[in-house]
């Protein structure tokens, strides 16, 4: 059975142990930002230093996609989209 999380509402498959960043890139999702957000988000340094791949997590704090293992059913989105829904 393939595992999935959701990126801006769309399912993204991931393999066990893989980071959110690895799964997003395999799905061809390089631009992690909002169209109105320039410069947008993207995976860059891979070690949590540049903060460019920080993604919003529904119900939890934003995380660096490059550091965080993907987990089943996570609802993720571009910053500040999910956060804005709390307002």
């Amino acid at each position: 059975m393939t595992s999935h999380f959701f990126w801006n509402g769309d399912p993204v498959a991931f393999q066990p142990g893989e980071t959110i960043a690895a799964a997003l890139l395999r799905a061809g999702l390089a631009d992690l930002g909002q169209p109105s957000n320039v410069p947008g988000g993207r995976v860059f340094c891979g070690i949590g230093a540049c903060q460019a791949c920080v993604v919003a997590v529904m119900g939890a704090a934003p995380v660096e996609a490059c550091l965080t293992p993907a987990r089943e059913g996570l609802r993720l989105g571009s910053l500040p989209f999910v956060g804005a829904q709390h307002a």
Binding site: G17, E18, G33, G41, F44, C45
Partner: protein, 428 residues
Amino acid sequence: MREAPILVVGAGPAGASAAATIAEAGLPVLLIEQRDQFGGAIHRQPAAGNDSHVWRPARHRRNWAGLMARLQACAGRIETRTETIFLGVDSEGRFLFDDRRAACVFARRPRAAIIAVGAVETIRPFPGWELPGVMSAGGAQVLLKETGRPPEGPILVAGSGALLPALAAQLAKAGNPPVAVLERGRPWNAPAALARLALSWGPMSEAAAYATTLATSRVPYRCGAIVTQAEPDGDGLKVGIRVGDQRQVLRVRHLLIHDGIEPNRTGIPLPDPDAAVPVLLAGDGREALGADAAILDGRRAATQVLARLGQATRRMRSDERGLIRARGFQAALTQALHSEPVVPAPETLICRCEGRSYAELAALAPDASAREIRLMGRFGLGACQGRFCGPMIAALRGQPLPAAIPPRWPLRPVSVAALARLTTDETE
């Protein structure tokens, strides 16, 4: 009460070496790692459940296996916390950590601390370096090691340093050789430095293996070549390059850039071996000397801590000699690949986090203080806290950008909810 541990932050080669040395001496260790597995960038392991291994030199595989065996042999004295981010030291002298799995911050008072958080890549900015599809070469290499899978579509590797051919060879072996490697330096113009490099057997045999792979995969390695700009082009990028006086445009899907590394010191406590709670730095986070030296440097820091805590230790003269050799090698490499800084085009982003351009940097007074650069220019105020624009500004202005003293926590963004769940080990 339990004996307070020696804190080691970072489970790459330096941290693993330091932790093993201290635990072998019989003292308890608290080993903190931001990822779910040990290894750091250089010894990054394939993700659990992925058995495709990226080719890497036998020396590195042996070194890491040796360190892991040492850690396992004294695992009873090592408390490991993975997926845990070091946040810094608060005004009470407590070391703070963000446990990402538990979504809670915890505080500890160690007897001593060894910080081994590795290096950060430096980037020479050009218009478009901030675009999706542009990744640091080190970031791409870490991903490749985890997934065993190269990115799909045409790849260009550019910048400067030994990482470029290494990554290009690994991409080729994984099935997607880059269209080219562009090295901005002109090493053939520095024969004396090249001759010194040739005396280092380990790295040079590694370099020869990479060169062979690049040759058989027909990947051109061009010196004196730079990326002048990148712009979006459908799903990929249109990359302007310059080789000597010739200009060319390449269409690629991925542009992997890297111009060297610097110790990751942003927000990191200042080293103070004589403080009541001694703080030492180790590995590339102290001085960027590479993976082999990091193992020696971790042991050197651990030995220093043990001596300070009254444990009989033997000073390892061979470690000191190894560090001196690594320093000589890195100096020769820097000299061989040296190139003069290029003034970026005005629209070039310098601070990605805050979207600040070179024109906005140049508009500041030439003698602007670090405080003015931050507060008036808004450089280094973003989420990365200047880890990337700081070295760029230092290179462009010819002087380092002084950091906040004492360093301020948190050195990574932390959620207020996690802070509100703070737990401490204090019994008083």
